[in-house]
């Protein structure tokens, strides 16, 4: 039969991150969330643990692990808090991975070591005010003038783009016209602080409040021609493959949030009394928690299955879409149920489940909405 156990080293990593989340993140994150403040010290500690270099080879300062190791870390962090988890997710899978996968040797040497240490963060600028999932609708342009790209346009909802330690943003832009009149889209590295590269005011968000999200503007922003990432005109194909991996990572993060809801609800079911018993005594609560546990379990299996295919180097687009869909919905459903179990306290920001509720919704939207996942699955079935 198939073996679903995750192996000793993965388990040791999972335990280490679990301990870190419980002892370092849980006691302080509520305050950062409420103040909408980026937790620099926690990010630095995660950097020292090597979390930002998990899937990157030791040659560039990484841990020599793989993408599944990153998924386990994301799951354990998100059990306690999604803001630090999404900072790691975006930093690695959207910030560092495009450079690692498509960069030249010199680009990798320039950017990756500091990113792997967590001393610096990178971001990925794809979404625009007029288009998210319809990435082909990119309006930002980059034209070659002499030996420089001149970039104009704007980007929306870019995670990690405006922290004090952000070193660069990879931006997708129209660089010409491909055959058949389609847009030629390329990816270009824009270092933080480049003249003409503006970081807008931080968004006021429903959730993920201790993470960093900005709109970006580019106005005659000039970067060297050598900042082109990968091949000219391959920008679209590149980010599609980055998004497939990212979906598995978001699925793992979603499972963490779903598990966090189970953890908190179980604890509360033992503690809270009503009508003479702990509320866990009542079937109404038991069934809710049983359903939450079931969703978490099945969701976890779906992302393990996608990750297994990805690590074997097999096509995993459909599995990634299924995992993203199932896990994000499990997170949202569990957050709603956990909040209900907590009653009035569930509506208070001082309890983690309130945070979980606010953090869950974006999971059904970011890295492709649930509808986009269904579209991908249907397309895979030949529809």
């Amino acid at each position: 039969m198939i073996d679903l156990s995750i192996g000793e080293e993965y388990e040791a990593l999972r335990k280490t991150v679990e301990e870190f989340a419980r002892e370092e993140v849980a006691p302080v994150i509520g305050g950062f969330y409420e103040r909408e403040e980026f937790p620099y010290d926690l990010i630095a500690k995660m950097g020292r643990m090597g979390l930002f270099g998990l899937p990157i080879s030791e040659e560039y300062g990484g841990m020599g692990g793989d993408y599944f190791a990153l998924c386990l870390a994301l799951e354990e962090l998100a059990r306690v808090d999604s803001s630090v988890a999404i900072t790691l997710e975006a930093g690695v899978s959207l910030g560092a991975m495009p450079v690692y996968r498509f960069g030249s040797a010199s680009q990798k040497e320039t950017w990756l070591p500091a990113l792997c240490r967590g001393d610096r963060l990178a971001a990925f600028g794809l979404t625009e005010p007029g288009g998210g999932s319809d990435a082909g609708a990119t309006k930002t342009t980059a034209r070659l003038e002499g030996d420089a790209w001149v970039i104009n346009g704007s980007k929306s909802f870019i995670t990690n783009s405006g922290t004090d330690i952000t070193s660069m943003v990879t931006v997708t832009a129209v660089t010409g016209q491909a055959e058949g009149g389609r847009k030629e889209i390329s990816a270009i590295i824009v270092p933080s602080g480049t003249p003409g590269f503006g970081v807008e005011k931080k968004y006021s968000k429903v959730g993920w409040n201790a993470s960093d999200t900005h709109g970006l503007s580019f106005s005659d922003c000039r970067v060297p021609e050598g900042n082109l990432l990968g091949e000219r005109g391959r920008g679209y194909a590149q980010f599609l493959s980055i998004l497939d991996e990212g979906r598995v990572a978001i699925a793992a993060l979603s499972v963490g949030l779903a598990q966090g809801c189970v953890d908190e609800s179980l604890r509360y079911a033992h503690e809270r009394e009503a009508f003479g018993h702990n509320i866990g005594h009542y079937q109404a609560i038991q069934f809710k928690i049983a359903e939450m546990e079931t969703r978490t379990h099945t969701a976890r299996l779906s992302y393990y299955a996608a990750a297994a295919k990805m690590l074997r180097g097999e096509p995993f687009k459909k599995e990634a879409a299924i995992a993203k869909l199932v896990c994000s919905e499990a997170a949202m459903d569990n957050a709603r149920d956990a909040t209900q179990i907590f009653g009035g306290y569930g509506f208070m920001n001082e309890y983690p489940v309130g945070r979980f509720y606010r953090d869950a919704k974006i999971l059904e939207i970011g890295e492709g909405t649930s509808e986009v996942q269904k579209m991908l699955i249907a397309r895979h079935l030949g529809l």
Binding site: E8, E9, A12, L13, T16, E19, F20, K45, R48, M49, G50, L54, E58, M63, G64, G65, A69
Partner: protein, 261 residues
Amino acid sequence: MPNIVVLVKQVPDTYSERKLSDGDKTLDRDSADAVLDEINERAVEEALLIKEASEGEVTVLSVGPDRATEAIRKALSMGADKAIHVSDAALHGADVIQTAKVLAAAIGKVDGVDLVIAGNESTDGVAGAVPAILAELLGYPQLTHARKVTVEGSAIKVERETSDGITHLEANLPAVVSVGEKINEPRYPSFKGIMAAKKKPVETLTVADLGLSADEVGLASAWTQVLEASPKPPRQAGQKVADEGDGGVKVAEYLVSQKLI
């Protein structure tokens, strides 16, 4: 380049419910998750800091059942170089003196030890006696309850914290140091460290391998034995003082009656 031995112990996780077995009042190891004792993480961290400053080698030494390998692996994944694990059914119920004897014999197996670092007391037994007994058995100076350790050549300086103040100690190596809570913040193992730990050597020894006989160690010949254990009484509900204009006075009277002010 000090050659350091760090003593580590696997203990029940303080987050889980801990209890003694009904029969012989020894630790019920199945009732709780087992972890590397937190004070030992600090001991390992201190050894690694000394090693990183002046090279050397760090050997982890643990006396405990087979499953203590998990605690040993954690110390190795933090960065220790190798380990010795003394595991023997005869050790069941060993007291602090017997444990120190076993540790001393195992340390004798390591060539050219300069420094032994331990936690000042474990979170399960809480005797706090092993480092001192071990120093006596080895004939090494003991610098216990350290909050700061400095190694300079063949000398070691330690700041010991007591309730009255700081005592500055100095000795020549080899020596035994025990560290307290304030010594450092232990690192979390990285994935690279976890992967590397798999390949590090762990030597497993029995009591006989150390030249000791089974009847010198273990519950039957222990100098101390737990006779009985009872859980702490549950916390009483607090006392309510209704403020009828004299609330402050009543609170003060209560504090005086408890000799708190």
